[in-house]
């Protein structure tokens, strides 16, 4: 009798329906929570993503239903609203392409484009650092991924979370979980991934180059800049317009000086709310069926490849500029074009300081750093227009 009761209880509990794949994902989500909370690897995104992964893989939780999103071209939103769980509702914000641009608005409101305006050559350095995206795309196609999947994987090299999520949602939504985890983990690992390649490609003398102080940038320039960039990019790559316009409207609200309340909201509550919803929903897509595949390991490998070659592209291009430029630039700022803002710029400063303790490279590195955000958005637009 007692045994029968125990057996009935067991049958009613989730323990009787859990699969080994769900068990593995639960362990992975706990590892990611550890990395986010204890080791502080991009905690603002990694903790919600990891928790979304945890919740979705709890057997019987029904917080996310992959079957509702199976046919990506004909989603029945009525059914989603009727039968969906919490994370299905949140996923609407991702699937509709809403959340990443909203986060970009907040990022724009927190970004200072002054160093970029003061030294416009940073744009080209930022562009060179997007080499990693396209090389990773090419390698992904060689490894058997479709061009659309390759584009979604390659964008990890842009080191920009919202851009990676936006691109993956359009080009390869079934890979979204793996791509998001890879993107945010590697962004946190920039101080580990970049320095060896930065040192390999530069001499001690190059690393110690001191750069002239940047010119002051007027308020008028900072106001006109976001308007100008939006217009130029929208004409050149219309599919990048959403991301770049969102980034620039946030920046304009900050720089205009007349919308202080809006800017403060964007920088704080607004971006925080969207981040929570985005993180949970992205994590929820990392179900056992989607995540535990050989492709996930390939994605993780391609992600680090993209970061490495982004670093190499930026540094080499900065060295190339030095061949033709009278005012030498420190090639370490090239690696900051991998747009993990402001981490990559800090890494440039740190590596330079090892050779020249008195050097102050941070503001110079911020130019390519923020240019890389624009560059990766343009790259995303190009990939979406080619394969979307």
């Amino acid at each position: 009798m007692f045994v029968e009761i125990l057996v009935d209880l067991y049958k009613e509990s989730a323990l009787s329906i859990i699969t080994w794949q769900q068990g593995v994902l639960l362990v992975i989500s706990l590892v990611l929570l550890y990395l986010g909370i204890v080791r502080q690897f991009e905690p603002l995104l990694l903790v919600p993503i990891a928790f979304g992964m945890l919740a979705t893989n709890l057997p019987g939780s029904n917080v996310y239903h992959p079957e509702l999103w199976a046919d990506m071209k004909n989603i029945d939103y009525n059914e989603v609203l009727k039968s969906g769980g919490l994370f299905d509702i949140l996923y609407i914000g991702i699937k509709s392409g809403l959340f990443p641009p909203l986060i970009f608005m907040g990022i724009g409101a927190m970004t200072d484009f002054g160093p970029l305006i003061a030294n416009p050559k940073s744009f080209i350095i930022g562009a060179a650092a997007q080499l990693g995206i396209f090389l990773a795309f090419y390698l992904a196609t060689l490894l058997g991924f479709t061009p659309a999947e390759g584009g979604a994987i390659g964008i990890i090299g842009g080191a920009d979370g919202p851009t990676a999520i936006y691109t993956a949602t359009i080009l390869a939504p079934h890979l979204l979980g793996a791509i998001a985890v890879a993107a945010y983990s590697y962004m946190a690992l920039v101080p580990v991934i970049q320095p060896p390649f930065m040192k390999l490609l530069t001499t001690k003398k190059e690393r110690a180059i001191e750069m002239k102080q940047l010119r002051p940038v007027s308020k008028k320039e900072k106001i006109i800049f976001p308007i100008l960039v939006t217009i130029v990019v929208a004409f050149l790559v219309p599919s990048a317009a959403v991301l770049v316009a969102s980034l620039m409207v946030g920046n304009l609200l900050k720089e205009s000086g007349v919308t202080d309340r809006l800017s403060k909201t964007l920088q704080n509550e607004f971006i925080n709310i969207v981040t929570i919803c985005l993180g949970l929903a992205v994590g929820a897509t990392a179900t056992a069926e989607n995540f535990l595949r050989a492709e996930t390991l390939k994605i993780l490998g391609l992600g680090v490849f993209a970061f490495i070659f982004g670093t190499i592209g930026g540094v080499l291009f900065a060295k190339l500029i030095n061949l033709f430029s009278k005012n030498k630039i420190n090639p370490l700022i090239g690696s900051a074009g991998v747009s993990a803002v402001p981490m990559a710029a800090r890494v440039s400063q740190k590596v330079a300081q090892e050779e020249n303790p008195g050097i102050f490279l941070l503001m110079h590195a911020m130019g390519p750093n923020v240019a890389g955000v624009i560059g990766s958005a343009i790259a995303a637009g190009v990939l979406i227009s080619l394969f979307g």
Partner: protein, 113 residues
Amino acid sequence: MSGSLLQTLIGFVVVNIGMILLTGIIMLFSKVMAKSGKKEIQAIEEEKPVEHVLTVSDQSEEVIAAIMACVQAYIQQNGIKSACNIVIRPAVRTSVSAAWSNAGRMENVSRRV
């Protein structure tokens, strides 16, 4: 040349073209702004140093130390380059009720803004 290699090259070239275009436009725009910018910067540099006046009353050393900490914070927050323009003058405490009334009025106004 395989299709994906061509797509890689096209994509990378398009991104670079876009960024080069942006570089050119921003350089042009900066040159145009530089002329008016120079006038603004010259005007700021030619501006006479403003005498920053802080009024304190005769108090104990602890209060003076606290006031000096406030002065230092004021200098840092307002980006004042030189402390030479800071003038501290002795003052007499005004009536308590007037000071509290003023503080209350300012708080009411700031709540409504």
